[in-house]
């Protein structure tokens, strides 16, 4: 009479048109006539750009060689048949040392290597959330490491030969500028942001003026100011290292931007938090350090990292005031007569671009990771 099923019916597979590769294609590439046209245009674009690029960068590329003849065609005085076009990686590998160290004294380059190893060894555990001894690690990274790195890179003490900063260049300068810029701009930016929200009119005016002026002008002018006007501002005879001047400019510029990012975080903290801290009897600095800043900084991590990325990219501007960071030294080598060929600029710039890209992309991915990790969903 009655029938009760005891077992479930197995689900039927979706109709053939709704699964597999055909369905995916139909849904993602050919959903409407317009979509199909777009897909065809996109495919044509990819077919037109990607294979020639791959061919240029890998198949036709010149990987080894000692001078420009290896990277130019017969008509240009080289070894390749006319009409050849390929990347000149030989140029990059021949100049690799220069791109990394600049003109840093050749026999002393191990010092840069050691600094780099130290940097990585201290940075990696700091970035891994589960690694222990965070306080000690941060202390070593932000306080001990810069001091050691200074003596190691500059030298002149402990039997190390002195290497003037005029000889520095390449990725070394990029990293030094970015590290110092980041390490200075974060605390300075916090102070400026607090100052801008301060109830003391003089402090507030001072911070607002500084932030708005620096944010309103291009970094180039700030760098020019640091490189041309700083020497005028100081007593006669007091000289200032050129790298240091660039550092002052970059740090000033980054601090102003950082201050605005952090101000955004401070404004997002509900008033109750400030009042709660006040009612507990905390002093201004206790209130800020223990209650407000931890919450505010967490809110603006993406903004802070974006400022870091911007700063890292902006270090390339020191080329304009006559210093040779990674991009600057690549640019300088275009005019090297031994390597000048139509392929050299593109190859050198692609290499520099790749290095910059790795760093910036890495930072932005890490910030997304941290954002997810720190998200306590209290908002």
């Amino acid at each position: 009479m009655t029938f009760v099923r005891t077992e479930m019916v197995a689900a039927q597979p979706a109709p053939r048109g709704e699964r597999g590769i055909v369905q995916w294609l139909r849904k993602n590439l050919f959903a409407t006539p317009v979509d199909s046209v777009l897909t065809v245009i996109g495919l044509l674009f990819v077919a037109y750009t990607v294979p020639p690029l791959l061919r240029w960068a890998f198949i036709d590329a010149q990987w080894t060689g000692t001078d420009r003849t290896f990277c130019s065609t017969v008509a240009q005085g080289g070894i390749h048949p006319d009409g050849w076009s390929g990347a000149c990686w030989a140029f990059v590998s021949a100049k690799f040392q220069q791109f990394m160290y600049g003109r840093y004294t050749f026999t002393q380059r191990w010092r840069v290597d050691y600094t780099a190893i130290m940097f990585v060894l201290l940075l990696v555990p700091l970035l891994i959330p589960r690694a222990p001894y965070k306080m000690l690690n941060a202390f070593l990274f932000f306080i001990v490491f810069p001091i050691v790195a200074y003596f190691l890179l500059v030298g002149g003490y402990f039997g190390l030969t002195y290497v003037p900063t005029q000889l520095w260049g390449g990725l070394l300068v990029t990293m030094v500028l970015s590290f110092v810029g980041i390490a200075v701009s974060l605390p300075l930016g916090i102070l400026l942001a607090l100052g801008r929200r301060s109830s003391l009119p003089v402090v507030k005016m001072l911070c607002v003026t500084f932030i708005e002026i620096v944010r309103g002008v291009p970094l180039v002018t700030v760098l020019f100011m640091a490189s041309v006007m700083l020497p005028l501002f100081l007593p006669t005879g007091m000289t200032f290292d050129r790298l240091l001047r660039a550092l002052v400019g970059v740090a000033m510029f980054a601090s102003a931007y950082m201050a605005e990012v952090i101000r955004g975080g401070l404004q997002a903290i509900p008033k109750g938090q400030y009042e709660g801290a006040d009612s507990l009897g905390l002093s201004y600095w206790q209130k800020m350090i223990l209650i407000v800043l931890p919450q505010a900084l967490k809110l603006v991590i993406p903004g802070i990292v974006n400022t870091f990325i911007g700063l890292f990219k902006d270090t390339s501007l020191v080329y304009i005031i006559g210093m040779f960071d990674l991009l600057g030294i690549v640019r300088q080598n275009f005019s090297d007569a031994a390597w000048a060929s139509p392929q050299t600029p593109m190859s050198g710039l692609l290499f520099a671009g790749f290095v910059f890209w790795i760093f910036c992309f890495g930072m932005s991915r890490y910030s997304i990771f941290m954002e997810r990790r720190l998200d306590t969903s209290h908002r």
Partner: protein, 396 residues
Amino acid sequence: MASEDTAHGGAPARAAFLNDPKIRGLIYQVVVFAALVAVIYWIIGNTTENLRRSNISSGFAFLNARSGFDIAQTLIPYSSNSRYIDAFVVGLLNTLLVAVSGIVLASILGFIVGIGRLSRNWLIRKICTVYVEVFRNIPPLLVIFFWYFAVLQVLPPPRDSIELPFGSYLNARGFFLPRAIWGEGSWLILLGLVLGIAMSFLAARWARTRQAATGQQFPVALTSIGLIVGLPVLAYILGGFPVTLEFPQKSTFNLTGGWTIKPEFLSLFLALSFYTASFIAEIVRAGILGVSKGQTEASYAVGLRPGPTLRLVVIPQALRIIIPPLTSQYLNLTKNSSLAVAIGYPDLVAVGQTAMNQTGQAIEVVAIWMVIYLGLSLATSVFMNWFNARMALVER
């Protein structure tokens, strides 16, 4: 507090003199102010001493002196006999030129890529993502160098110029286009254009009132295009074809005639637009994603098709989110145009640097830069704030 006060007979409990927050604040401010004044006094003292030693007279008098250098691209008449102040004006105009044209191209590209990143089409989405991720993560100066050294400078010499449609040529010296020569009666075309724009405005207004009153729609977009294109063309024919084109002529060593876009301008313009477009794309994407899905669904529910939904419901709301960050990107582009100095495009900074090297008036030149860039920033933000206020949600 209150009960304590009454117990003590009304007078509030006084803190110790130094613990009074007001007094403390005052002391801090006096200290900061004094330090500031001292630093400024010290700097001024040093500066005057340094300037005296290197025999530089301060002041802006040098602006009226003969500049003595040539500028490759000038929008107004200028020669090496002109004054420094003219050179600065030329530089400022060049900055504005590259900034405005860069902003236009960056906005167009940015909107296309930003919308492309939200496309249903997988391939388009991926292409746009790759574009954004590549350009956002490399320095703008590198993009400028890329266009200048790797693309435009390795183009063939004028002898082997690449021929493009409409009689234009591309070579290592720039982009050569035909130039329009406005003959007699050309004012008719301009008149036609102005009339076309004015009539389109009126038509749009009339159509809006009629739609509000009767609900009948009118093809405003088509009519406007017809008016704006049609009237000048009509005027062109009526005026007896007054405009002639001067085509660049190929000679042995160079191209003569026509209209030349210099490679410096071209690379700066392309680089700034491509770089900034990647940021604008992200802003546009965030703006569109910021409009809640319910809006789209509600609009479908009242019977709007996808096109009008995007145009009438989503974009107006997305613009509110987009405009503030877009403003700061426009400002960034303007400020990044100062990178021109690296490839020799004569913008404000490049001209100022030449003037600085010639006269040694570092402080004055930096001051001119700062005032002008601050002014530009201010003008842009005032305009964009006005635009933002127009677009803002009108609430109760």
